[in-house]
């Protein structure tokens, strides 16, 4: 069973921040990490992420198994880049310095190596941010704070329902799969492709239909209690934005702007130590 990242209660400085602050930080961080290919900026981002990760007191057991999956994906992705485009780095930086020859058309160039190093550290800038966001944010409080900054409460409530029902639906899923396996339906890699689609369908049917029922039940219950009657609603988990929230938001914004200025200072988002 795949272990999911989930919220765990704790009382650190980061846990006390409002959900919307952490969401905004997370989104800005992802956007910056996607835009910049400036190694200096990326390294500073890793440093900040790691400090925040330490402050949040997240334990390795909470995130370790997911981390290993990411590493596997990252290695596959890097391998695919090198196999399919060994000259991508040269095209980006416009220089070419061969370190050694491998075979056929494949040379190991400094430029390609540096480009792939940047792709790799981009992963490490975002991973701690994702972990912190998911492990320290209370879903109900996130919905409340999203509504507070002007997002319609129907949307915020959808997100809250999604986070609330993931464990339930996952429980259903595992029960149905166990039941089907007990009836002798082979789910592992031993079966042939088409057979596996057919067998997957034997899990998806009951799961989807029970979820459709759940949608009816929950929406009827909400209707009976008058959901959506008024333009505004109150939230049990509402926390006011405190000074720390404004400081984090302002600090992140300033950092992102500075980082973009540094990145685009020479008109290109790529930076290399030899240029």
């Amino acid at each position: 069973m795949a272990k999911l990242l989930s919220y765990e209660e704790n009382d650190t400085w980061i846990h006390r921040l409002s959900g919307i602050t952490k969401l905004m930080f997370f989104l800005m961080w992802c956007a910056l990490s996607a835009m910049t290919y400036d190694t200096r900026v990326l390294l500073v981002m890793i440093l900040i992420s790691l400090i925040a990760f330490a402050v949040s007191k997240t334990k390795w057991q909470q995130v370790g198994s997911v981390f290993k999956v990411i590493m596997a994906f990252m290695i596959l992705n890097l391998a695919a880049i090198f196999v399919m485009s060994p000259e991508q780095g040269c095209a980006i930086y416009g220089t070419r310095k061969v370190l050694f020859h491998i075979a056929g058309n494949y040379d190991m160039t400094r430029d390609q190596l540096f480009y792939m190093f940047n792709v790799m550290i981009k992963y490490f800038t975002v991973i701690p941010a994702v972990f912190i966001f998911l492990v320290t944010t209370n879903p109900s409080e996130l919905a409340a704070s999203m509504n507070r900054v002007g997002i319609p409460y129907t949307i915020a409530y959808s997100l809250s329902i999604a986070l609330r029902y993931i464990p339930d639906v996952q429980g259903d899923f595992h029960r149905i799969r166990n039941a089907q396996e007990a009836r002798g339906i082979e789910m592992s890699a031993k079966a042939k492709l088409f057979e596996r689609i057919r067998r997957t369908a034997s899990i998806i049917f009951p799961l989807l239909f029970s979820s459709m029922e759940r949608i009816d039940v929950v929406s009827n219950a909400m209707e009976l209690r008058g959901f959506g009657k008024y333009k505004k609603r109150t939230w049990y988990a509402m926390k006011p934005l405190r000074r720390a929230d404004y400081l984090v938001l302002a600090g992140t914004l300033i950092f992102v702007i500075c980082a973009l200025l540094v990145t685009y200072a020479d008109g290109s988002r790529f930076w290399a130590y030899w240029l």
């Binding site: 990242l5 992802c30 999604a162 989807l208 929406s219």
Partner: protein, 183 residues
């Protein structure tokens, strides 16, 4: 079905997203490295066909981002937005499928599959690789090959599993009313 964005749509987005995220766990390898058949795509197409483009689009967006984050700890944004395109695209004709009224017939199935193929082509052959190049500066031939395989995998799983799900659910849901309109 109600036209405005009502309680049912709010709940459908919530529980649909949860379902999509949970089904991230099932990935059927088809022998090509890093490419899988994703049954969750069939469920996304199903929900879009039943509840319409807004629900489909939001489930695609939210479900993909959350699923990526919860299972893989990172969000591949250039593949999140195309997912919303598939949801919106398939949901465009949701009125004409008449799934809840029990009217999902051969004609609706053909329309559903035409729309899903167009939406998937737009999403994975065009949008995803272009975003990969613009956002992540990935090599062009790598992302177009990946996109082409994702397109193939998705139209197969939606075409087979999605269509079957719609037929089956339409048969069950349509039966619930015993009243018939008089001539």
């Amino acid at each position: 079905m109600n036209k405005k964005f009502g309680i049912r749509e709010v709940v459908a987005i919530g529980i649909g997203t949860a379902l999509f995220v949970v089904l991230t766990e099932i990935q059927i390898p088809i022998g090509i490295p890093n490419t899988y058949l994703q049954p969750r795509m069939a469920v996304l197409a199903f929900l879009a066909a039943v509840f319409g483009p807004v629900v489909g689009g939001v489930i695609g967006l939210l479900g993909h981002a959350l699923g990526d984050a919860l299972f893989y700890g990172g969000v591949w944004w250039s593949w999140v937005f195309p997912e919303a395109v598939v949801g919106i695209g398939v949901g465009m004709l949701s009125k004409s499928y008449k799934v809840l009224e029990g009217g999902f017939d051969r004609g609706a199935a053909i329309r559903f599959n035409l729309v899903q193929i167009i939406a998937n082509a737009l999403a994975w052959i065009l949008l995803a690789p272009v975003l990969d190049i613009l956002i992540y500066a990935e090599p062009a031939n790598k992302v177009f090959i990946q996109g082409a395989f994702a397109f193939l995998g998705n139209i197969i799983i939606i075409g087979v599993l999605g269509t079957i799900l719609l037929f089956a659910y339409s048969r069950v849901a349509g039966k619930s009313g015993s009243l018939q309109q008089e001539d």
